[in-house]
Every structure is written in C-alpha cells, then in structure tokens.
Amino acid sequence: MDPIIELDQVSYTYENAAHPALQQVSLTVAAHQWVAIVGLNGSGKSTLAQILDGLLPIDTGTIKIGGQPLTTDNLWQMRQQIGMIFQNPDHQFVGATVEDDVAFGLENQGMPRDQMQQRVHWALEQVKMTAFAHKAPQTLSGGQKQRVAIAGVIALQPRIIIMDESTSMLDPTGREDILRIMQDLQQQLQITILSITHSMAEIVQADQIVILQAGQIIKTGTVEQIFSNLRNLTELGLQPPFTQQLQADLRAAGVPVTAQYHNKSRLIRELCQLRLKM
C-alpha cells in the first residue's frame, strides 16, 4: 500500500524549551490504516499531531502527506486532507448550534450553501446526531459533543483523521461509541486514522502501534509484536492489555498458555483446547 504519511528526520523544539519535543522522528504510515500513537505524558505525541497538520512549524526534516511535501505555500491545501479531533470537546466548538459547528469547516472552504446543507446533513447522520442539529453544543453530553466534533471533521471528507486523545474525557460507554463510529467510518470512507491514546481498547485494535518516548520513536509494530514481551512493556510506561496480563498470570500459576500475545477470542480458544487435552 502507498504510504500516506512520511516523516523523515523531523525535529521540533518549543520556544524556551531546553529539550526538543521531537527528535529525528521518522515514520511511515500506509494508507487506510489505524495507527495508535502511545507514550507517557510529555513524550511528544500531541506535538507530533500538530506538526502533521502544519500547526507547528518544524525545525528540520521533511513531512510528506500523500506523497507531497508539506511547505508553507501548500499548507492550506494539505490541511484539507487532514481532520483533527481534539481532547476537550468544549474547547473546539465554533458554531452556536450543532449544525453551524459542523458547517464551520465547509464555510472556510467557501462551499455553496445548498451543497453545505447536504454535507452537514450527511455528516450528522453518520454520527447519528441528526435529531440534535438545532441544539446548542453546551446542552449536549460529553460523548454527544465528541460526536459533533467528529461530524465537523468528516463533513470535510479528509483522507486522514487525527484523534488527539479524543476519548480521554468520556465515560466507558461514550468511548466505545466513538470508537465504533470511527471504525465504521474508516471502513466506509477508507480513511487513515492516527489516534493518540492511553486507552487500551483503542490500542489493541490498531493496525500499527507507534511508541514515543522523550520525543523519539522507540518502537513501532503490530499489536502482537508490541505486546509479545510483558517485561519490556512496563519499562515503556505501558500497561499490558487485560488478556496479556491474564496470560502472564496463568503462566505464573502453571497453566501452559503461550507467551505470545493473544486477543480475547484466541485466548478463549487456546484455553478450551488446553482443557480438552487435560
């Protein structure tokens, strides 16, 4: 598959900061993938998201989106290909009603009004918020607000969506809802999703995991590759997923399950097979 995002030796240092927030970061993301970016607080995850959208100017290196290098001249065209959903839903509303907010990005593109109405309607339908179109965003719950934020981004029909801890302020149900909506949309629209997250549910369903530490990428790989070694994980500040913790505990208790990472259904199958052999 063609790479949609290519970072080559990218560095960025905030003003007055002693250490660079990102240091010689190189990363390639294939199109239509779900990439989880994980790391401790202050490891440079959000900075990475913001430099991808051209919100922060990089010091060195190159960024290519869809094969084209990101420069100050083509910044606004490139930005049309990327949608960002932020952490705090309250701080990302511009419109006074739900539909106004969804239309905001379209207004910026100068889209004609009748076309905008169709898009807004479509986007709200995707996130199942059509009934709330005329409500004020303040009257919605956290999960509903985040759905509206998603609608605002997908109305622009970007090729890449970056979720910057978008589910961190939601309750478990709200988080699941958002995750399911994003998975559906990813399948349906063939978008690439970069999700910055601490949520294990989100991490284990990603195609690729990128681990950042102190502004550097220290590991990338699939879920199986990353979670195959339990001891390594805690050093990276990552909590092992529930199934892997269970595998480790079972092994410690003398049950001969494999050390390799299994997801829930595979672990269940292996346990059933072990039971049959006993």
Binding site: G83, F86, H91, A96, E107
Partner: protein, 265 residues
C-alpha cells in the same frame, strides 16, 4: 443576576418570535426614537396601547415584563422624582427651597415614568423573542455598510458569536473555581470591602488563565478546520426577510405619523 430579565431569551412560537431579527432590531431602535415624539396624554395612550398589543402578540405574559422591571424600579423612581421636584414652570402648589411641585411637573414626571416603562418593555420584548445568535446575525448584517470604511465586520461578528456561546462555559468555570477556592477556605462576600475585593483575586486569575487556554485550544481547532480569515468564506446560516417584517416596519412608520398628527393637534 438571576432576576434580570433583559437579555434573556424565552423560546416561543409567536408572530413576534418568527419576525426577522434585523427587522426587530431596527424596529426597536425606531421605537426608542418615536417615544420622544410623544408630548401629551393622547400620544402616550397610543404608544401604551401599541406596546401592550405587541406584548400580547408575543404570547408572553405581561407579568413577566413587570417582573423584569423590578430590579430597575428604584432607578426609574429616582429619575422621575427628580424630574417632578425640579421642573420649573406652572404655578407650584407646594414649594420648599429649590423643590417645587406643580400640576405640570407631576404630569411631566408621569410621562417620563411611562416613557421609561415603554422603552424597557419594548427592548425586553426584543431580547426575550430573539436568540443571542439571531441577534449577532442581525448586528452583523446591520454593520455591513461599515465595510466601506474597512471596519472588520465579519471578524467582529465571529468574535461576537464566539463570545456569546462561551458565556455558559465560562460561567460554569467560574462556579467551579469558586467552589474549589471555597473548599480551600476562601470566604466570598464576607468581611470588609477590601477583604471582599481581595477574595475575588483567586477567582479572577485562574479564570483568566483558563480563558487563555480555551482561546489557544479553540484557535488551534479553528485553524485545523481551515479557518484562515473571513475572506473566501461562505455562510451556512441565512436570515430570511418576509412580508411580515416589511409590514412591521410599515406599522412603525404609521405609528410615527399618527404621533406627529396627535402631537400638533
């Protein structure tokens, strides 16, 4: 704060609710000018009848308007009394030093009282039947001519609409900060004036800091959604001018003509 009714919106489905906010805005402004045409009891009677009819049409009970005046009643009475005692002319039936009362001055005070009531009623009518959003749209439209002198109308309108919709968020934030400071032992509204003012500082500074943070987050979110100035933007929301709006302005015109007629008569 909870008592003040001016500036609050009451949802409804009346004729007045459905009028174009631009028309209502202009109408209210005209009314405030028209009120000054009135100078005798016939004209005041006509104006009062007109306002009561407008209130009736809005479907909001008169009680609500009267309640809305309560916080301002002392200010109004003070002005009216000043007018009564200090209006010279007529033959005073009571006098003490510089104070005097005459039939003319009492009548004058009464007229001013009615004038106040009418202006407050009609402006309350505007705000209770128009959403803040419609209001800012109307203002944006009415400010448009200022573009000729390079006044940034779109930016001001965007600022206005963002400011309006962040009021609830910031007031929630204020309550949160106040409660957090109370939990740490700050007393609000107690002690001497100096101490009360000092107690405001632990609310004000975190509130400022948090508004800076909100502004930063919002600007990043806006930029990431492609906002780069008002140039080349289209508009999703559109106001619709209907026949009823034109009729409303015609009615205001007729009212003015009647008043001028009654005034010289």
């Amino acid at each position: 704060m909870g008592k003040l009714i001016i500036g609050r919106y009451l949802p409804g489905d009346s004729l007045i609710h459905h009028l174009d906010p631009r028309g209502k805005f202009v109408g209210t402004f005209l009314f405030v000018l028209i009120v000054f045409l009135a100078n005798n009891w016939e004209t005041y009677l006509l104006l009062t009848a007109f306002v009561l009819l407008a209130v009736k049409l809005s479907g909001i009970s008169l009680k609500f308007f009267i309640k809305g005046i309560r916080p301002m009643i002392y200010l109004i009475l003070f002005t009216v009394l000043l007018q009564m005692f200090f209006t010279p002319g007529g033959d005073p039936f009571w006098q003490w030093g510089i104070f005097s009362l005459s039939k003319l001055s009492i009548l004058n005070g009464l007229f001013i009282f009615i004038r106040f009531l009418l202006i407050i009623f009609i402006s309350t009518l505007l705000t209770v039947t128009t959403t803040p959003l419609q209001m800012s749209d109307a203002m944006e439209y009415l400010l448009k001519p200022l573009r000729i002198v390079h006044f940034p109308v779109d930016e001001v309108a965007l600022m206005l609409s963002i400011a309006l919709q962040f009021i609830p968020l910031l007031s929630d934030e204020t309550t949160k900060i106040m409660n957090a400071q109370r939990a740490r032992g700050v007393d609000f509204g107690e002690g001497s004036l100096i101490n009360q003012i000092k107690a405001v500082v632990p609310i004000l500074i975190p509130l400022f800091v948090s508004s800076f943070n909100i502004a930063y987050d919002l600007s990043v979110a806006m930029e990431s959604r492609g906002y780069h100035g008002s140039e080349g933007r289209s508009k999703y929301r559109q106001l619709q001018w209907q026949a009823a709006d034109t009729w409303m302005l015609v009615v205001f015109g007729l009212l003015a003509v009647c008043l001028i007629g009654l005034r010289s008569y």
